[in-house]
Structures are given as C-alpha cells and as structure tokens.
C-alpha cells in the first residue's frame, strides 16, 4: 500500500512539531489563566447562600467550588456533586471551609440580612446583625442595626488610624529612642571595660534621656488608653446561621457589607476597596489577611539597591574588557567565564552571600564598629544590604555581557571620528561610545532587574523574613537602615503558600501576591523599555 503523498512528504511530522509549540502556548496560557482566575476572584464580594440540610442544620457562606464526588468502584463514581462553602466564623466553628454533598441539601436561599464582616482576628464573620449597644445602652435592634452601624464603622476606621498613629508611630518612635539609649549604654559599658575609666557623666546622661522618653511613653500610653476607652464602647451582636451569637466591638470591624443586597456598583466599590487595602496595608493574621505593602516596598527597594550596585560595576568591567584590555585568548576565556557565571545557580550566589557578606564582612563590621552589641549581631546577620549585594553579584554578569555587546555594536567610524578631532580615548568613551551604547546597557539592566525581582532562593538565606516589623526606610536618622531584614513578594508567596498554618485560607492571598509580583516585573520591564526607546531616539538623531 502506498502512503498518501502528504504523509510521504512528512506533513504529519510538521504538524507533530507544531504540537510541541502548541503545548508551549497552552502551558503559558494555562499558567496565566490559573493565576488570574484564582487571584482576581478572591476580592469579589459574591453572594452569601444559606443551605439548609436535610438534618436541619443551616450553613451560611460563599460557595467557592462545586465538583463531582470521586467514589471509585461504585456506580455513583463522579455522578454526585458537592459544593464547598467558605463559612468564616473560625472562632465559632473552628474551621473555615466545609464540603456539603448536594444530595444532603434540603433548601437554599440568599438571605437579605446576611452580612460579611471583615474583622481584626479569626477571619471573616458571616451573620446577621441583631443588636447594637453602647456600653449597656441599646442603640438599635434588628433591621435598624445596619443603618446605625454604618457611621460607627466609619468612625472605627478613623479611630483605628488614630490608635495606629500613637501605637506604631509615636510609641514606636519612643521605643526606638529608648533602644538607641540602651545601645549607647552598652557602648559606654564596653568602653569602661576596655580602659577601666568610669564614665558617670555619660551614664547619667543616658539615664536622663531614658527617663525623659519613659515619661513621654507614659503620657502617650494614657492618651492611648483614653482613646481606646472612647473608641471601644459600642458593640454589635451578630447571629450566625446556626443561631449562635457573637458580640464584636465596632472598633474591630474593618469592613462590613450586606452581601446579598449589593448592586453591581456596591460590589465594585467593595472590590476596589479590598484591592487598595491589599496594596497599601500591612499583613494581618500571620500574613493570611490584610495587605502586602511591606513586601512590595521591600522588593522594589531591593531591586533599586541591586541596580545601583550592579550597573556601575558591570559597565566598568565591560568597558575594561571591550575598550582597554588587549584582545587575546585570555580576554576570550574571561569573557566565556563571565558569560557562564550568568548560568550558575542562584542558590550558589546565596551561599556565597551568606558566607562572605553576612558572616565575613558583616561579622567583621560588627567586631570593629559594634562590639558592644555582641553577641547580638548588627550587620553579621541577613539584611537588605547583604541581600541586595548578593543579587547584584548574581546580576553583574548579565550586565557585563549586555554592556559588552552594546559597546561592540558602536560603529568604529564614530570612535575614529572622535579620535580624529583630537579627543582623548576617555573623552571618546564618555561622550561618544557610552551614549551610543546606553540603550544596550539599559537592556542589560532590564534583564538584570527582571531576574533580580523574581529571585527568591538566595534571598531566603541572606535577609528576607516572613514578617518584618519595620521598613528599611523610615523617619529616624539615618533614614535608611541597611541592616534591617525585609519582606519580599516572591518569598511571601513561598512562605504563605507553604509555611502558613492555614494554607487553604491563605491560598487566594498567594495567588493575588503572584499577580502583583508579575505586575511589578512587567512594570519594571515596561519602564525600562520606554526609557530605552526614548534614549535611542535621542541618540539616533544626535549621532548621525
């Protein structure tokens, strides 16, 4: 039998290789779709359904999934379905999610008085508000509660901001100053031990400073107590689906909405509010709720420091290799070696960073400049500076390779023209070669930044933490604290997704964080591309 012509020509094989590419495309599309659908839906306020089961129990929650029930070996295998409810009320039930077989359900409805309450702890509360009290005085009951509650929730937000201002910023400042004085005292003690001279005057100065701060602290504490006393007087009682009641201070309510009464506009407002909170707020409840602002901040800051270190050094090395070194076998070997460094696993750079920057350099700085604080390390432990330097080292080869290519691409005629007009070599490089190569160097920077922002493994061992109480940049002298540990989006994904005590509740947070990490990487890329194009236009017109 003779095969058809198209088979003999190999057309099916062409299609076969096409399938390989198709798989690639499906994989990319699949990944992006998975991340987007799982991440974007999380903030959407969907309806609350109340399921009454055949045994009489009632369950209120957001239906988040429906799937066939696997029951291998029986005829019902994958015939029946079950739904998963997100119940909230962790403090009342002890769990957040529940699978319910559809055949158990007697009836379902969407009660109008079902409210979704985001609060300070135990995850969301789902139920109907039944009673609003101010101290012992009843303010509203039943349906009237919602109307009376709204201004109180707005006031709670205001109060929380005021409390946070005192707790975090003002008392935080006092604590910071006391800590500084404590270190000063240690320094004095250390010096006394060194030379045996008593420094009573300095000691009493420190003691006076501490006393002054402690006085301020007491004042602030009283102010805080007063504020808390006025803010935390109103309580609202919610009734959950099973009839249990829960009293909640209005101060602890972050957001409340009647999930089944909202129109599209209301839902969009809740959605936008949640996204804003996610981007701008600190994490709560061991990173499973609240926002990721410190992680975004840490990531961006680390990438900036990394670029500041990697670009000058990378360009300098490239200038040497391309413009000053004698081209020969040795430079060729160095070039291959540098090129291959870009392929060395990032964890190896992490190991180097830990051994060299943290223990060797950082430990040395501690012994030399902060001996009084030892054995508590100051620089001899992971921090944003060491992490950024490690990443800079990781990305320097990328910058060197890209810059070298850019330098090589500058036409010879341009250099010769410059030299012919009497410019020195350095003038030529500074005024002719570097500007012409700038777009290419920026490309290198883009690649380096994209790689740096997404790296996690080396950071895990050089200074990233799951929860950093302070940002590396703040209002206290010297404003930038390179020894502080920091949070990072990539590590946040790993930590919340894999180290969190309640992975199921944290999953949506991981997806949304992923979206943000991807957004930042794309944004960094786009900015750099825009800059590159602008520079290219500028030098294209001015060069020739």
């Amino acid at each position: 039998m003779k095969l058809p012509l198209s088979v003999r020509r190999g057309d099916p094989m062409v299609w076969f290789t096409g399938s390989a590419l198709g798989t690639c495309l499906l994989l990319i599309a699949g990944l992006i779709v998975i991340v987007l659908t799982n991440g974007l839906g999380f903030f959407w306020p969907s309806a609350l359904v109340e399921l009454t089961l055949k045994d009489g129990s009632k369950w209120l929650g957001e239906q988040i999934r429906r799937q066939p029930i696997p029951n291998p070996g029986s005829p019902d295998h994958l015939r029946e379905h079950r739904v998963q409810l997100k119940l909230g009320n962790r403090d009342l039930l002890g769990y957040d999610f529940k699978w319910i077989d559809e055949k158990e359900i007697a009836s379902r409805r969407e009660p109008a008085d079902a409210f979704y309450v985001e609060r300070r702890e135990y995850g969301p509360l789902l139920g109907a508000p039944v009673l609003l009290k101010d101290g012992e005085r009843v303010l509203a009951e039943g349906d009237a509660v919602w109307a009376a509650l709204q201004p109180l929730v707005a006031k709670a937000e205001h109060d929380r901001a005021a409390i946070e201002q005192i707790e975090k910023h003002e008392i935080g400042e006092i604590n910071y100053r006391i800590e500084q004085q404590r270190l000063a005292l240690k320094r004095i003690e250390y010096r006394e031990k060194q030379d045996g001279v008593k420094r009573e005057a300095e000691r009493s100065a420190v003691a006076a400073a501490v006393a002054a701060q402690e006085e301020r602290f007491r004042g602030k504490q009283q102010e805080l107590d007063r504020l808390l006393a006025t803010a935390a007087t109103t309580y609202v009682t919610f009734r959950a689906a099973d009839g249990t009641e829960k009293e909640l201070s209005t101060l602890d309510i972050y957001r409340i909405y009647p999930a089944n009464q909202l129109g599209l506009g209301g839902r969009l407002a809740v959605y936008a509010g949640r996204i804003w909170e996610f981007v701008s707020a600190d994490p709560r409840e061991s990173n499973t709720e609240g926002g990721i602002f410190p992680a975004i901040f840490g990531t961006v800051m680390m990438v900036i420091i990394m670029s500041l270190m990697a670009v000058p050094f990378g360009v300098l090395a490239a200038l040497y290799l391309r413009e000053y070194a004698k081209q020969g076998p040795l430079v060729r070997i160095v070039r291959i070696a540098v090129n291959n460094l870009a392929g060395v696993p990032s964890i190896v750079f992490g190991v180097f960073g830990l051994g060299f920057f943290v223990y060797f350099v950082g430990g040395g700085i501690d012994r030399m400049f902060f001996p009084e604080a030892l054995p508590t390390p100051t620089y001899g432990t992971g921090g944003i500076l060491w992490a950024s330097l490690t990443l800079a080292l990781l990305t320097v080869p990328v910058v060197i390779v890209a810059s070298e290519e850019a330098l090589a691409a500058v036409p010879r005629s341009m250099r010769e023209a410059s030299i012919a007009t009497g410019a020195t070599k350095f003038q030529t490089i500074l005024h002719v070669v570097l500007p012409a190569a700038a777009p290419g160097i920026l490309t290198g920077l883009i690649l380096a930044m994209a790689r740096g922002a997404g790296e996690v493994a080396p950071l895990m061992i050089t200074g990233v933490v799951k929860l950093a109480p302070e940002l590396p940049l703040d209002g206290f002298f010297p404003f930038f604290h390179p020894d502080r540990k920091f949070m990072h989006l990539g590590f946040h994904i790993y930590d919340v997704g894999f180290q969190s005590p309640n992975v199921e509740a944290a999953m949506p947070m991981v997806y949304t964080t992923t979206i943000f990490l991807l957004l930042i990487i794309v944004a960094l890329n786009l900015t750099a591309i825009v800059v590159r194009n602008r520079l290219r236009r500028k030098y294209q017109t001015s060069a020739f």
Binding site: S6, R9, G10, D11, P12, M13, V14, W15, T17, G18, S19, A20, L21, G22, T23, C24, L26, L27, I28, L31, I34, P70, P72, G73, L78, G314, L316, L319, Y320, E323, Y324, I336, A337, V338, N339, L341, G343, V344, P345, I347, V348, F349, G350, V351, G355, V396, T424, A450, G454, V456, A457, I461, F491, I493, Y494, G497, F498, T514, L517, I521
Partner: protein, 744 residues
C-alpha cells in the same frame, strides 16, 4: 603655512593647562578602568575560590600538640596511682580515684593538688577497681571485700563581676553503697552506668564470673551472676548507658548482655583471634568498640538485618586502622563519635567511629600510658603515665565525621542493616549520628533534571524547529516574545503553581494527565485531517505555516477529552483506582508532590531557554542550504530533518546543555513541588531532594563554621562546578558552530 603652524602652536600653548588636565584625566581613566575592570572580573571569579575555601577545613587533618604534664603527687610526696581519670569541661581540674579510696582534684594549670575528698562510704577501705561513666561524672569504686560505692562529682561554675569564669565549686555526692559479692571477694574490674534514674554496676569477681547489680526506673533492685561459656577468662568489660553489657574474653570473643527489659545473653561474637583487651561504648550507647592484643580495633552494634527479623544481630560495622601495638585502653568522646585508643607502646590514636577516619596519631606520646581521657569539650586529651605523670594534649578536631568516603561512599550507620548512602544532618538528640552522604542529593538533582529534560527537550526543540522552519513569518515575530514571557516568569511562581495547584490536580486526575501526554501530540497531528477538509473560503486565507490556528484548538479539545476520559480509563484499566493499582501491582507508592510534577514544572522553566537557543541555531543555518534543498525537490520536512537539523545540531546540543545547567541549579521549584525527602529511587511517583533545595532548607539552621555549614558550602561548590563545566562546554560548542556557519 608657517604662520598657520604658529597659530596652532599658540592655540595649544594657550590651552596648555586644559590639555594637560584632559590628558591627566585620560591617564587616570586608563588606570581606574583597568584596575576596576580587572578587580571586578577577578572578584566575580573569586566566588568559587571563596566557596571552596569555606569548605576546605572539612578535609584538613586534626591537630594535636602536647601542652605539658601535671605531676600527680600529694604535698607529702606520695605518688598517686589513679584507677580512673576525669576532668571538668573547662579543663580547670583533673580528678582521680586512688586505691586508698580518695578522690584527688589537681589543678591542670600549675599541677597543684587542690582538694582531696574521701570516696563517700568507703572510709579506710582498699579500692581495687574503679569506673567512671561516659557522661555525668558518675564514679564507682569496688573494694577488696566485695563492696561497690557510687558517687557523683559535681562542678558548679562561679563567675566574677565581669561574667568571666573564676573557679569551679567542687562537690562529691554519695550515690549509695552496695555489697555486690556476698562472699566478699575483691572486685577486679568494674563497670558503672547511671542516668539519674537507672543504675547498673558490673563487677568482675572471678576469671569467668561477673556480678551484675541493676536498679531500674521503678526502683526494683536485682543482683545477677553472669558467667562466660566453658569458663572463658574475662579480660575486660564495659556498661552502656541504655543498659547493655559488653564483655571481652581471652579467646577473642565478646559477650553481649541486654539488661533491660530482662537480662539475657544476646550475642557472642569473635572479634579476632587474640585476647580482647579493651571495650568502650561510643556516645549514645549503641555502638561498642573492641580492641585486642593484636592492635585491631573494631566497632559493633546490634541491628535487625531484615525487616521481619524478630531479634537484632550484633554486626561488625566498622574496622579501624591497626594500633600497631596491643590496645590497652579506649575512651569515647562526649560531644561526637570520636574515640581515642591507647597502645601498650604508649601510642595514642584518635579515630572517628562512623567515618572510620584516623584523625590523629599523637606524635610524641611517651611509652607506658595507663589511662586515657578525652576532655568533655573534645578539645584535649589526658594520658596518665607511670610515676604519677599526667600528660596533656590540646587537640583540634572540628570535622571528624567527614571523609571522601562518608560524603560519597556507603557508610554503615547505627540502625541500618547494611552500609548505605544517607543524608540526615540533624536529629532529635545530642548523641545523634549525623549522616552526610551527598549521593542521595546528587541523585535527586540528576533525577529531577532528567525528568524535566525528558519533558522539555521534545517540546522546546520541536517547537523551535517548527517556529524557524515551518511557521509563517507573520506569526513568528509574535511567538518569540511569547516564549520569552515564559522565561521571565519567576521560578517561585512556577513552583507555587506546581506545588499548590498542579500537584493536587495531577493527583486527582493522574490517569487523565498520563493520557494527555499521548493525546496532545496525537490530537495536534490529527489537525492535518481538519486542515485538509477546511471549507474553501477559510483555507484560501490560511497559508502554509498557519497551522497553529487549527492546532491549538484541536489540542485544547484533546486535553479536555483526555481529562474527561481519565476516570473511565482508570476504572477499566487500573481498577479500582490508580494509586491502589500501583501499590498492588508495581509496589510503588504515590507521593502528591512527585517527580512527575517537578518534571512538568521544571520543564516549564527550562523550555524557553532551550527553545530560544535552538531556535537561534536553526534560524542561523544559511538560507542558501535550505533553498538548495527545496530547489532539488525536497519537501519542507525533508529539508528540515536532513539539512537544517544536522547542520544546527551542535547548537541544539548546547541549548540542551544550558537547559541542563539551569535545571540542575533550580531551587524554588524543587523546594515547593517535591516533598524534599532524600531517597534513592527512580520512581516518577516519588519525590526527591536536590543539592540546591537542600542548601536552601538547611543552611539557615547551620551554625557558622560547623560541619553542616561547610558540607553545604561543598554542595554549593559542587553545583557551581557542575553548571560551570556544562555551560562552558555548551559555549565552546556554540562558538565553534558560529565559525562553521561563517565558513559556509
């Protein structure tokens, strides 16, 4: 002309300062850039050197130096003959038990006798044998009339104002007195073990008779008499902490008694043909060491040789370097599994019990040593010599457990039926036997990489071939950036999706996923049937090279179909479900985070690299070659496989190498998508632990400068070397290929 030159000269003269400045700047720039450039390149390349330097101390030999002697003489000129030696952890005092039933405390610095305490309960009696437990400073003294007194030495550190150690407060506590032999014979040798609750005393009373006294946790006391077979003469004995007794005989046998839960003789083994002269239990009390007249030293422990064995068997797990003289004493360290042996010629050798490494042979040990002690911090040795001389040595022995064999070879660990490759760096207790075999980690690295490449190579190379050879140019410009998006995805994102979405998905639809691997290429290829039957209106617009528009929907349909058909296939082919079928028919277990998931995820990460480089290689094949082939009447496929592919094959090879390098070092994906158990098993349904993930998991917990820390640096150096070599080969191949194209 002349005036012109002059003007230029004048100009130059006028600008002289500026020109000088510019030239100075230029010279400075040459200097600065050269220095900076060389410095940066050198320091970047210095990374490997630094990592190696951090790992290097692992292989340095141990150091031992004599630090002087202490004369054990009382102020009235009486030379002390110690029966047993002990010291505190700061090495301030050494103590002994003497035949006169006294405990002397000598200051190690200066050698003065600081304190003499009568052995509690033995006033005036003659002591014939004494024993000290390995940890806790428990002492026992046996008398000439068959009694045994027990005591404990306690050191309480005292600090001065500056929190510096000033002195130790010494106390000798009474722990009880027993009459171990009702007949009142002298105690010839003594073994004593005490863990605060349980106590055992073994006393040698006659050539073949041992009295064993035991008090268990519930305070019941018992006295037993143990005898060797056929009156074999006992030469040495030692008690272990968890209450086991090992006894050596003149015929070269070792008898092993288990004391709890009930007393029984479990094993009698032959250690060698010459008399056993010394026995000592290693830290942890599981392994004992036996030395004999011929200088042989061996390590033994009991283990179940097969899983279904009812009882354990005593095995000779370790053999150590011969002493070169009869072994007279063995002493174990209390921090790790090192031990020291003393020869009749006075030679002192330091060994490690697990790695069998000979750490140190004291160079200048005097002959005739009697007693031997490793100090509690593992930093010194005390040897007592005749005439009341106590010789001190300082030893530095930071990484005794590491040898090339323990890193890369099979080692017989306690509790294992045979020598194995094991990685287990930390345990729950202090006496844990660390296991630093890099083999399971290297195996895991290779396993993960191979599964990833198995998935990635066909897709990436096939896709690249299609993109460069068959695809319509108008789409090609969009495909490459799309694939590059794939490369920009951070590995933490891929790892997280793999670990938290893909792994449970694959577990639920395992059969569907396996089906998909067959169905996807088939359904794509079957697209040709649809293509040939497209309505005229459509097929006129689709040119060759636009197959993708048919392919992708077909494949998506195929994928959905495979997932849908999965449960049905599972029920009919693998009843009742796949995992049970797997364990019943192939004896394989199924982990949720397994090599299949890692292969898919890491493959995903590697595809863009292989794709881009091999696409470049295919596109760079001179078009004259393929044009000639097409002109001769070859089809697209024939041209691609017979002309383009062979020409570009070195480029494809180097692409695969670079992909290999990336997969070897990938950390986050493996960390998140496998269970990180270091197993030696090729099964695709099990996980693995790779070198890189191991570093990430363990280095935060590794103390600076410790053995684990340095072993992890060694693993880092290994990764560095592996990827660097692979990448260099790939790079050289690519450069060669580029030159070949230039020649064509």
């Amino acid at each position: 002309m002349a005036s012109n030159t002059l003007t230029v000269r004048e100009l130059i003269a006028a600008q002289g300062e500026r020109i000088k400045r510019v030239k100075r700047l230029d010279r400075f720039a040459v200097f600065f850039i050269t220095l900076g450039g060389i410095g940066i390149v050198a320091s970047v390349l210095g990374i490997l050197l630094f990592i190696l330097a951090e790992a290097w101390p692992l292989f340095r030999s141990s150091q031992g130096t004599a630090t002087g002697t202490v004369a054990m003489v009382t102020p009235d000129g009486h030379v002390v003959r110690p029966l047993v030696l002990g010291t505190d952890e700061y090495q301030l005092y050494a103590y002994d038990v003497t035949p006169e039933a006294e405990v002397h405390f000598f200051r190690l610095e200066g050698g003065k006798l600081a304190l003499t305490v009568p052995f509690p309960g033995l006033a005036g009696a003659g002591v014939t044998a004494a024993s000290r437990s390995l940890t806790g400073d428990f002492l026992a003294a046996g008398t000439a009339d068959g009694r045994v007194a027990m005591a404990q030495v306690r050191f309480r550190p005292q600090y001065d104002d500056a929190q510096q150690l000033k002195d130790l407060e010494i106390e000798v506590r009474d722990r009880g007195l027993i009459a171990i032999d009702p007949a009142g014979r002298p105690v010839r040798q003594l073994g004593y073990s005490d863990d605060g609750g349980r106590k055992s005393v073994a006393a040698l009373l006659a050539d073949d008779e041992i009295a064993l006294w035991h008090r268990s946790e519930d305070e019941t006391e018992a006295l037993h008499t143990l005898r060797t077979r056929d009156g074999e003469k006992i030469t040495t004995l030692d008690l272990a902490r968890p209450d086991a007794l090992a006894v050596g005989t003149e015929k070269g046998n070792v008898y092993h008694w288990e004391i709890e839960p009930e007393l029984r003789l479990t094993d009698v083994v032959s250690v060698g043909s010459s008399p056993v002269t010394a026995i000592e239990w290693l830290l942890g009390g599981t392994t004992f060491l036996a030395g004999n007249q011929a200088g042989e030293v061996s390590g033994w422990f009991r283990v179940r040789l097969r899983d279904d064995d009812a009882d354990r068997t005593l095995v000779n797990a370790h053999r150590f370097e011969n002493q070169g003289a009869p072994v007279t004493a063995i002493t174990a360290a209390t921090r790790d599994r090192s031990f020291a042996t003393l020869g009749a010629d006075g030679s002192v050798v330091l060994h490690h019990g697990t790695s069998e490494r000979t750490l140190l042979r004291l160079p200048d040990a005097a002959a005739g040593g009697e007693l031997l002690l490793i100090t509690p911090k593992n930093d010194g040795l005390l040897v007592s010599q005749p005439g009341g001389v106590l010789a001190r040595y300082a030893i530095s022995n930071p990484h005794p457990e590491i040898t090339w064999k323990s890193l890369f070879g099979k080692v017989w660990y306690e509790g294992y039926a045979a020598p194995e490759y094991v990685w287990q760096s930390t345990g729950a207790t202090d006496d844990f036997e660390t296991k630093f075999s890099l083999v399971p980690l290297m195996f895991g690295t290779i396993k993960g990489t191979l599964y990833a490449l198995l998935f990635a190579i066909p897709i990436a190379v096939g896709g690249a071939l299609y993109t460069s050879q068959f695809m319509h140019p108008s789409i090609r410009g969009r495909i490459k950036p799309t694939v590059e998006i794939m490369a920009a995805l951070p590995s933490v994102v891929i790892g997280f999706v793999a670990g938290l979405w893909l792994a449970p998905m694959v577990e639920r639809h395992i059969v569907g996923v396996i089906l998909m691997m067959v169905v996807l290429p088939l359904s794509g290829t079957a697209g040709i049937l649809v293509w040939n039957r497209l309505p005229q209106a459509l097929s006129r617009r689709l040119k060759p090279g636009m197959e993708l528009f048919v392919l992708v929907p077909m494949m998506a349909l195929g994928a959905l179909g495979a997932l849908e058909a999965g449960p049905w296939v599972e029920a009919t082919v693998f009843p009742p479900d796949f995992k049970l079928w797997l364990s019943e028919n192939l004896a394989l277990t199924y982990d949720q985070r397994n090599s299949l998931v890692v292969g898919l995820a890491m493959g995903f990460a590697v595809i863009p690299i292989i794709f881009t480089i091999s696409e470049d290689a295919f596109s760079a094949v001179p078009s004259s070659l393929s044009a000639a082939s097409l002109a001769l009447g070859a089809s697209r496929w024939q041209t691609a496989t017979r002309v383009v592919l062979p020409t570009a094959s070195p480029g494809v090879f180097s692409a695969v190498m670079i992909g290999f390098g990336r997969a070897v070092g990938e950390t986050m994906i493996v960390l998140m998508a496998t269970g990180n158990t270091p197993v030696l098993d090729w099964s695709i349904f099990n996980g693995m632990r790779t070198l890189s993930a191991n570093i990430a998991v363990e280095i935060p917990e590794a103390p600076y400068g410790g053995t684990l820390y340095r072993v992890l640096f060694l693993a880092g150096a290994l990764l560095f070397a592996m990827t660097f070599v692979v990448n260099t080969i790939a790079e050289v191949i690519r450069q060669r290929l580029r030159e070949r194209y230039r020649a064509i």
